[in-house]
């Protein structure tokens, strides 16, 4: 016990003495939480539109003003030449071209089909999808109004017979489809993982590179004491960061905390050990900080991008979805969201917690085994 205390004392002394380390440990996570939470959004904000209005009618003007009224669309360019509008799109100045053919109003009034061309810059497929669904719903509403008007003004059998199924969407837990609510718990996971994975692993490789590890190896320190001495400081720091993050999430971002905070903290504790063990494992198979860093970063990117943080796991092909079973980050992101946003409790998350625990124990055992007090 005393040896562990001495080891911890030394680690903390070293961590807090390193001037560039303190901001990295405590300021960076906060800044990242703030920046990333706001950045990670697919919400449509301002779509620049080029309008080609060949009809110049009351209805065609109504179309554009409906678009503008939503606040999402901004009329950037008005022209009669398709080529000019296309040029603007090529240069990325507009992302939607709205082309209204002549005779548009007349056709609508007569109850005939009136085409309207929407050209969308689809380089970014998800934004394009959003532009499309916003535009079509604007046009659908407008169309419904027009049809009612025609029905009232003149009886048109054509219009009456058309069947329609009304789709009424309802979004639970997050009715406004607010991205921040969704992203913050996930980003917290990423920040904690980075502290756990990079710093604890790096720390051992550093002692190897400097040579102090040899000195430790000829002392009677036991492996587990050494491991605890290396794991615990960053575990504590990771937990403190998580707490700061949770406080910010609750009071800064107004994220609802439906589930139990204790559950989150317990899972976080297990998760941190798991990810730190992975860091240790990396440090036992590498010789320089550069190597360790590179492998850790590589794994981290894969964990994050395939962990459902940004793009849904449900979008991945089956084999890739299966890979998430061995991705601790994916588990923890899912648990955080379920517990905080949906109020899930132990029954719902238990199998994932078992998963993380199993991974953590395996990694810890392997890395303790791999770490040798003897060289070569």
């Amino acid at each position: 016990m005393k040896i562990i205390r001495v080891l911890l004392q030394k680690e903390f002394l070293q961590i807090f003495r390193n001037k560039s380390m303190l901001p990295i440990l405590f300021v960076m996570p906060v800044v990242q939480l703030l920046v990333l939470s706001f950045a990670a959004t697919y919400e449509l904000k301002e779509v620049d539109v080029a309008l080609i209005d060949n009809d110049q009618s009351a209805l065609s003007r109504e179309v554009m003003s409906r678009f503008q009224a939503t606040g999402y669309f901004n009329l950037e360019l008005e022209t009669f030449h398709y080529a000019e509008a296309m040029m603007a799109m090529d240069q990325g100045e507009v992302s939607l071209i709205l082309e209204i053919p002549s005779g548009f109003q007349t056709r609508v009034r007569e109850g005939r089909v009136a085409d309207l061309q929407l050209v969308i810059d689809a380089v970014d497929g998800s934004t394009a999808g959003l532009i499309q669904s916003y535009s079509t719903s604007i046009l659908k509403d407008l169309n419904a109004e027009q049809m009612r008007k025609i029905q009232m003004e003149s009886y048109s059998p054509q219009v009456q017979k058309v069947k329609s199924i009304q789709v009424i969407p309802q979004n639970w837990y997050n009715p406004d489809l607010d991205y921040i609510t969704f992203m913050v718990p996930g980003i917290l996971v990423v920040l904690v993982s980075m502290i756990g994975l990079f710093l604890s692993g790096m720390n051992i490789v550093r002692e190897q590179e400097i040579g102090t590890i040899e000195q430790l190896n000829v002392t009677p320190i036991r492996k587990y004491q050494f491991m605890i001495g290396k794991l615990l400081p960053f575990w504590v720091i990771g937990m403190i960061d998580l707490l700061i993050g949770l406080i910010l999430a609750r009071y800064g971002f107004n994220i609802p905390f439906l589930g139990s905070l204790i559950t989150v903290l317990i899972v976080a504790g297990i998760f941190l050990i798991t990810i730190q063990s992975l860091g240790l494992l990396i440090s036992t198979i590498t010789h320089t900080q550069q190597q360790a860093m590179f492998i850790a970063w590589f794994l981290m990117v894969i964990f994050i991008l395939m962990g459902g943080l940004f793009t849904p796991i449900e979008s991945m092909p089956m084999w890739a979805q299966n890979l998430t079973y061995i991705n601790p980050v994916a588990y923890f992101i899912k648990i955080m969201r379920m517990v905080l946003l949906k109020g899930a409790g132990w029954p719902e998350i238990q199998f994932m917690v078992y998963g993380i625990t199993a991974m953590g124990s395996a990694l810890l055992l392997i890395s303790i085994n791999k770490y040798k007090k003897t060289v070569a």
């Binding site: 449509l44 380089v123 934004t127 999808g129 199924i165 837990y173 991945m316 899930a344």
Partner: protein, 369 residues
Amino acid sequence: MNSFAGFVIKEFKQIYRDKRTLTVLFGMPVIMMILFGFAIRNEISNAEIGILDRSKDEVTHQIIQKLEATDAFQVRAYLQDVNEIEALFREGDIKEVVVFEANFRQKLVREQRADIQIITDATNPNLANLVQSYTANIIQDYVKALNSEDQIEQAGIMPKVRMMYNPELRSVNLFVPGLIAVILMLVSTLMTSISITREKEMGNMEILLVSPLKPYHIIIGKVLPYLVLSVVNVITILILAIFVFQVPFEGSYLLFFAEAGLFTLTALALGVFISSVASDQQTAMMISLAGLLLPTVLLSGFIFPVQSMPEVLQWISHIIPAKWFLIIVRGIMLKGSELLMVWKETLILIGMTVFFIALSLKKFKVRLQ
């Protein structure tokens, strides 16, 4: 010049002797490309949904069949009551419940109008949006088919949508340029900054500085091997993108490689700059990581569109080199842009490169005196 050649050869040898790192350096882009090419998508596949059918007639059956027939959905649960939804959503696997109202077919025939409720688990707004619009599209298609069976033509405004540059809305087309940027940042910026700080930490830098080598010789020598690596990586990614993922390449290869070369230089210059600021490897790596890689992934438009961000972040995104590189590469690959269309972005990148090189040269000189 001779000592310079010797120095460059030493740098190459050091890097290429470390087989493990080398494997990672070459293998990584391939693995990343394959994983992300297949896995990072905003399309839906096999999303699990539930059905609450209060009508159970032939129309609702047909619609359920249509939903099941797509790759997008898997019907996993049939519910009896709305109250069951809460528990289902909490378990977390089912993302959407489609609710048919009672007497669905009757209403559709008599009143020409029936309602379907789509209840989504919107903890993930993006996913909720996606499943919702997929479902709505399937239903709309069904209605259209129904109407045309009855030989009734749709009336009124009919939007015709054309998706430019990426008609199938494939995410891979969007992500490939971003991936190039991230990998270049990783290889060029992170690796150079660490390798130079390592020399500093180990005390070798002093030896180099007292040698007849000029500071810029040292920098060039350090940077050259990574430049070669970067070029190989870019070519690998491009080959994979075009032949495995069928990403279109509309523009000129020459321009593409010129721009990729330019961006590599920017990334290397940044790496050198970081190493001139950081005193040890740990600091260099944390700066590269927090200051560059995360912003490159998140603020450049790689995954999330820049236009969706708050004003402040849009401003910040201007100083991120990857943002400009993404505009350029997406332009060249998908839109067939020529230099005339991307000269502004190119100039910005050149400016950034010159700025970082000048700054780090100055830093090196100061240390010499």
